[in-house]
Point group: C2
Chain length 499, copies 2
């Protein structure tokens, strides 16, 4: 903190920080002089020193990777034996965007890793290596009265330790979202003062959520909120520190993705690359460019960011692909919006008609075998996780009681009772368990019904559905015209020849 | 335009205006000196003079209310005879927010109305009174290469001739939206230069769309775009005049409503009223406050505005009611999201169960009688207009081929065939005509299915649907527990007593 800032402080109603690397001792002195600092100097002090931060959160029962302070080569070797390799070695202070972190892959590398971090004199600690499946982040706002609101959980995707892409909301099950939100909220409630905080988290393979670190300010993982949420993280920070009611943190659009413009080449070449990217962004629907106008470009420096907001995860990812001129995502990796499930592969000749319709309307879907009778456990888990996995409609039967996702039932034609057994078993559901049943063997209609349901929140799809309806009408009108032209006798002759 | 502005002009890459009441002659001179003015001085000149504006648009075949120039008492009396009363008398120039307009209710009022407008010397014209059902507005952006994009049609609601509320999108049929967009686009294409334009329109009782007037700049009816559209009208104006690609004008959230903060009392009292309103807005989800910080408050002066964005028209209207502390909208006036239609009132004992469910989930719906057999024409028009009227799901049968809105069929129990005739006639639809059929007489499930469909774009509703599912499960578990406690004999005894 400059002396200018501390001279200005007495004239401020409330003092806040835009970065935690400030002179927290001066901040504390100002507090003692009666200056209202939000968040509190104590919070900045805890967060500045990453080791102290870990110790603090550990005391409050927040789940963390194991960690220990090291101050000699022998103590770091001991830690290596305890935690195994690779071993994460971290500076206690001034670590930012991957700086101040280094990895030792075996005991031999320890001394060079310590040297690369400036030796033990600036303070080091080590962490057990966390093999996470995703990195998540939750922006938490805390008001002066201590109440909190949490933004939707996002996934942060790093490139060389620097945040590169943020996907909102994160594609993780609801229970992981709840867990992440709880960990984040608990962590922030253990700190003093008002403001917006970012809680960076690891999601481990065994579905644990561990705290990585906290930033006591609006954060890169919350930049998307400017365009995608009712209240941006910046407005929220002001609301929080000024004692205004906290705003609604939820998303006003279904999906958004933020892409950091990182410096590639230095100098003019770097600016040219960035400008080309921005030029492409201007042509992409829902894309907003934020260029920070930094005077110099450096490799890996955050020069700006682009947020793309859209009607679905699928569409914002496709738009990012277009922006980056890369091939579209592997369709196998695209999250399905619809599912077709069959009790047996013998249903495929019928059920494929639903698949044909979904494909025609470009709706990502999955098709699999799940039998209520023969694989009850699989059915149970399938239905239970359907909503969490983002499915919006299921074409099948029998699973309605386990999911709140709309289910469309297709009765399969049986040889013994011509499908009436199947029809009645699907359509005659008890009260409270609705299944949208279509005609016996008419999976095409099941597909069309799914399209109509999905169209309600996707205007483009709605237009296509209307067009399809018109095509059907035109086909019949075409036939009628032909019948009138040929007369009924000529048409009958032609019809019998064709069928 | 001040001399300062004309001195600055040569140093500008492009010159634009934020209001049309500028010195257009100077603008034209600057153009002749090679300054790039967008839109062109010719456009500003046409728009400044409302009579000239009407003449211009009339020449290009844009539908307008009838109008005629008047310059003497006898000519205005003649116009009164021609157009009838009430007669709209307008100043040609400097008319803004209702100023420069006056209404003569009969011939006797003409001279005082003319006097109130400053006499004939400043230029007057009269317009045939338009009894409109709604006022609409379309923001059109026109790029330097002449291409245009149009924002969604909005409804503007005026109070004492001043825009008070803007609803986006407007609640009018799709064909009216198309018509309004076409008129607006055609009008702007007749003008020269790039930029954002607002086209204010009247929707008449006989579904005509007439142009009222054009503003050659971002406009009050487009303020909502800041929060609700992918590209705000301000960013769009810059894109247009700078020759960048035009941005996507569509809405990223389903609905928004803008409320102008108009000065009530003058002085301190006025500020206090406004501040109380802003304080309430801070507590309303999705509300963004824009306070213009004008130094003085005057009656009816636009002091700021509040935009509320939300997941449905219903929710943003309810939030505006809360903001204005007025009673909720008459539920009869709330636009239904779902419809329950019956072939006959004898179906009511069954179909009411669907109504009960929709009511429970707080979904606005309509319930009416439409018979495919007995009122085919009514059925035809009903189904055809369903989507346009905003219906998202219909509970009934038989109408699927005329609408792309999802249809849920409830087979009604018949005395002769126990409802199997009804079931088969609804479920066995031909390919291309999907109807989501539920069990015979089970309208409750039809209601629940409708809820699940609507929940796909309404997270709050989704949570309620999941909760309902859990309640059902808990009810059964409760019964199971009781059965285990009482034993099967005790439970049977109790059961037989109750049923």
């Amino acid at each position: 903190m400059s002396s200018g800032a501390s001279m200005m402080a007495p004239r401020c109603g409330v003092l806040t920080v835009e970065i935690e690397h400030v002179d927290a001792v001066t901040l504390e002195k100002l507090e003692k002089q009666g200056i209202d600092c939000e968040p509190k100097a104590s919070t900045i002090m805890i967060i500045q020193d990453k080791y102290r931060q870990k110790t603090h959160f550990s005391k409050f029962g927040i789940p963390l990777p194991d960690f220990v302070e090291v101050d000699t080569l022998s103590s770091i070797e001991k830690a290596g034996e305890m935690f195994g390799y690779p071993l994460m070695v971290k500076s206690k202070r001034l670590a930012y965007d991957g700086r101040g972190n280094a990895v030792a892959h075996d005991k031999k590398e320890l001394s060079s890793v310590v040297a690369s971090l400036g030796g033990f004199e600036h303070g080091l600690y080590v962490e057990r290596w966390t093999s996470f499946v995703k990195e998540l982040s939750v922006i938490v706002a805390r008001s002066r009265d201590g109440s909190t609101v949490c933004y939707p959980v996002v996934e942060t995707i790093h490139k060389d330790n620097i945040c590169h892409v943020v996907e909102a909301p994160a594609e993780v099950p609801d229970k992981i979202k709840k867990l992440a939100t709880n960990v984040a909220e608990k962590a922030i409630k253990s700190l003093e003062g008002a403001g917006v905080f970012a809680v960076e988290l690891f999601l481990t393979q065994d579905n644990q959520v561990l705290l990585n670190e906290v930033a006591p300010r609006p954060h890169n993982s919350g930049h998307h909120t400017i365009e995608s949420c009712y209240t941006s993280q910046y407005e929220q920070h002001l609301r929080a520190i000024l004692g205004l009611p906290l705003g609604d943190p939820s998303m006003k659009a279904p999906a958004s993705i933020m892409y950091n413009i990182l410096g590639e080449d230095e100098g003019e070449a770097g600016f040219t690359q960035a400008h080309q990217l921005i030029e492409r962004a201007l042509d992409i629907s829902g894309a907003s460019v934020h260029w920070y106008a930094k005077p110099e470009i450096r490799k890996q420096r955050k020069m700006g960011h682009i947020t793309i907001v859209g009607p679905s995860k699928y569409s914002v990812k496709a738009r990012l692909d277009k922006l980056l001129q890369r091939d579209a995502y592997d369709p196998k990796k695209v999250k399905p919006r619809a599912a077709i499930i069959m009790g047996s592969d013998s249903d495929l000749p019928v059920m494929k008609d639903a698949a044909v319709v979904l494909k025609k309307f470009n709706i990502p879907f999955e098709l699999t075998i799940v039998s209520a009778h023969r694989t009850p456990e699989r059915m149970y888990h399938y239905a239970l996780s359907a909503k969490e996995r983002g499915l919006e409609v299921i074409i099948a039967g029998m699973v309605a009681s386990l999911t709140s996702v709309p289910v469309i039932g297709v009765p399969i034609m049986t040889s013994s009772l011509h499908g009436t057994d199947s029809l009645l078993s699907i359509v005659q559901m008890p009260k409270g368990i609705p299944v949208a049943t279509v005609a016996i063997g008419n999976a095409e209609n099941a597909g069309l019904l799914a399209v109509r349901m999905l169209a309600s929140r996707d205007p483009e799809l709605g237009d296509k559905a209307t067009e399809y309806q018109h095509d059907l009408r035109d086909m019949v009108l075409e036939k009628a015209k032909r019948l009138e032209e040929l007369g009924w006798e000529g048409y009958t002759e032609l019809y019998l020849k064709k069928h």
